[in-house]
């Protein structure tokens, strides 16, 4: 087992090193040009759910059929390998249009692999993007990417089980459970359930991966802590506020179902699930009117939640900027945003599509997540009013998420909170020091 872990670690280490070196070698950057607005446009995207794939393929086919000047060629790369593929491809070999996972955008800007898009995409498209969408795609005042959809994160709960256990629950952002109230609810619910569990935190997704950072770093920010501030992690990710948040998280673990079959909530083994928007369709079908959507616990500074998702940018060496921009305009119109968000259940990232959406707009079953997204901010400018916090927009994000998620996984299995977070802080600071703060 140890041997396997070592082998796995060495593969990861080599891949990372190769990618870093490949990034360094890519050089270039800033050589994009508009072209004449005709010809082939190469597009790369991640191969996600079948329904998402179909929506994107339809969009490309419809775009190609709608005009004769531009021909889009779509290539799909499996989601698990997608970011690695971009990292290991030199800038010259990247396509005209490429999809990017939001938090990785800064590292691709740093590697000079993506081009600013504001001169290629229409102003109408930019103006129609939600604030969170623009924030996610903007670095140092330059717009590099725009998304079709955002993401929603909160608690999905079985209201009938909460009522039966006599647990009262919040009905708005402002009335989110405090950390103590949440722990008390878990104790009560676990005692009432034959399974002995009360909470599903999607351990089956892997706390040591991106899910860990996306889903649980908002706890730090809700407690007044953060992942990083002013390019320093020490005293922030392992500061007293962050430590308190993670100690609270650790105290919930005895009530957590491992959820190996991804069915803890629908089978009634737990009453509460730490929940992303993609789970809503399945939960809604299984629980019907009993499903209630709640904000994440308020650790002291107001409830905070995650945001951000896949977004669209352009390769830094594209010679087809105008044609690529025309395709992005098409991809971000209401019809295609609706088709994609219908396919994956995500909140639309354009104002017009969001206003017309029946799930997230006022009165919809996911209105609370819509409200959360309406109160978004960047990780370096968190206010009391802010609810959804974007993951840090820095080229050093890969090391931040890797270290935090590893610490989180260790904390979940009982490691000392302070030591785990301090270890993460040291590693992050070292990486920033080694890379001139990724400036």
């Amino acid at each position: 087992m140890k041997h396997r872990k070592k082998a796995g670690a060495s593969v990861v280490a080599v891949t990372t090193a190769a990618l870093l070196l490949a990034s360094c070698s890519s050089g270039g950057g800033g050589t994009s040009s508009a072209g004449d607005g005709t010809g082939d446009v190469e597009v790369w995207a991640h191969q996600g759910k079948d329904t998402e794939v179909a929506a994107l393929q339809d969009a490309v086919a419809n775009f190609n059929a709608s005009q004769s000047d531009i021909n889009v060629k779509l290539t799909l790369v499996p989601e698990a390998d997608y970011t690695t593929t971009i990292q290991s491809t030199s800038a010259d070999d990247l396509p005209d249009v490429l999809e990017l996972d939001g938090p990785t955008l800064a590292s691709f800007v740093y590697d000079a692999k993506v081009a600013p898009i504001d001169s290629y995409v229409s102003q109408e498209t930019i103006d129609n993007a939600t604030v969170g969408n623009v924030n996610q795609g903007t670095l140092d005042g330059t717009l590099y990417a725009l998304a079709q959809f955002n993401s929603g994160l909160g608690l999905c709960a079985n209201g009938e089980m909460l009522d039966a256990a006599g647990v009262s629950y919040p009905d708005s952002i402002d009335s989110a459970w405090s950390a103590d109230e949440f722990l008390s609810a878990l104790e009560t619910l676990a005692a009432e359930n034959d399974s002995g569990y009360a909470l599903d935190i999607k351990e089956n997704y892997g706390l040591g991966g991106e899910w860990g950072t996306y889903a649980f770093s908002p706890l730090l920010q809700s407690a007044g802590g953060n992942l990083i501030a002013d390019n320093k992690a020490s005293g922030v990710i392992d500061g007293p506020e962050s430590v308190a948040a993670m100690e609270a998280f650790q105290s919930w673990m005895p009530y957590v179902d491992p959820d190996e079959d991804d069915a803890a909530l629908v089978e009634g083994r737990v009453a509460i699930s730490w929940c992303g928007h993609w789970l809503y369709p399945g939960y809604s079908e299984a629980l019907g009117d009993d499903l209630v959507i709640l904000p994440l616990p308020d650790m002291g500074d107001g409830t905070k939640s995650g945001a951000g998702s896949w977004t669209w940018g352009m390769g830094s060496t594209t010679k087809q900027g105008a044609a690529a921009g025309a395709f992005l305009d098409y991809l971000l119109n209401d019809e295609n945003v609706k088709a994609m968000t219908t396919a994956n259940g995500a909140p639309p990232a354009t104002e017009s599509a969001l206003a017309a959406d029946t799930l997230y707009s006022s009165g919809g079953p996911l209105e609370l997540w819509g409200q959360q997204l309406g109160a978004g901010c960047n990780a370096d400018s968190i206010t009391d009013d802010c609810v959804t916090v974007l993951r840090p927009l820095t080229a050093g994000y890969p090391v931040i998420t890797s270290e935090f998620a590893s610490a989180l996984a260790a904390i979940a299995t009982g490691d000392d909170v302070q030591s785990a977070l301090t270890g993460a802080a040291t590693a992050i600071d070292q990486s920033f020091a080694d890379n001139n703060d990724y400036e």
Partner: protein, 286 residues
Amino acid sequence: MTNAQSQRARSRRWRAARSYLVLTVLAAAYVAPAYYLVIGSFKPAADVLSGLGGFAPQHLNLDNYRSVFDSLASDSTGYFWQFMTNSILISLAVVVVGLVVNSMAAYSFARLSWRGRDKSFLLVVALVIVPFEAVAIPLLFMLNDMRNSLLVQALPFFANAFSVYLFYTFFLGLSKDIEEAARLDGLGSFGTFVRIAVPSAKPVFATVAILTFMTTWGQYLWPSLVVSNPRYRPLPLELSVFSGQMPVDWGEVLAFGTLLILPVLIFFVAFQRFFVQSLASSAVKG
């Protein structure tokens, strides 16, 4: 039969029973994962991870296989049979070229006299302990211009130090008398290698072929670094289509896994007779 004889017979039977029991348990431990893989590939995802129930052959259907083929059936995703063909071509190329190159190198080390031979051989043997991960980065830079091709996936694996070592040990054990007789009959070094050494070395050729095929077939790290175009992707990279998304549909993962091991199984069955011969002769040689 005396009491002592009867006791000895009982004791023998008891020992045999114990041996069979241990062997049965060991065999079951080896077979169980393969059985689970195959049986799970025919079951709905919810039935796969149901504890020991996962071994029960119930609710069997072909839906997972349909999903696998449907997910890889367009120009943008690439096609399942295209990935399979890529993997077969890459693996066969590495096996065929590898057998030629490595056997010739080994014969040279074992039978020919040339300056620096022993030191060169030591260097080759030392390469056995260098893991591929250690040379992946330099290779990536050296071959970056060949990205997105079948050749770039095969080229680094043609020459293989371990294969050279296997051939070398075999050629060392070959009788020199026949080779000397062949030379007296006018055969040169290459002729002796082709007509005398190679025909005698079928078991070791089979062993190297099987080991090389299995290793190449399962390559993941290298293709993930050098291939992005679906047209050139090998089959193992596509596993992440099914395992890389949450929630994981384990039925589809197992169906893909079953399809992934089929060619290896066929290759092994085709060459296993020689493989067993090779193992047996190695065991005899001690």
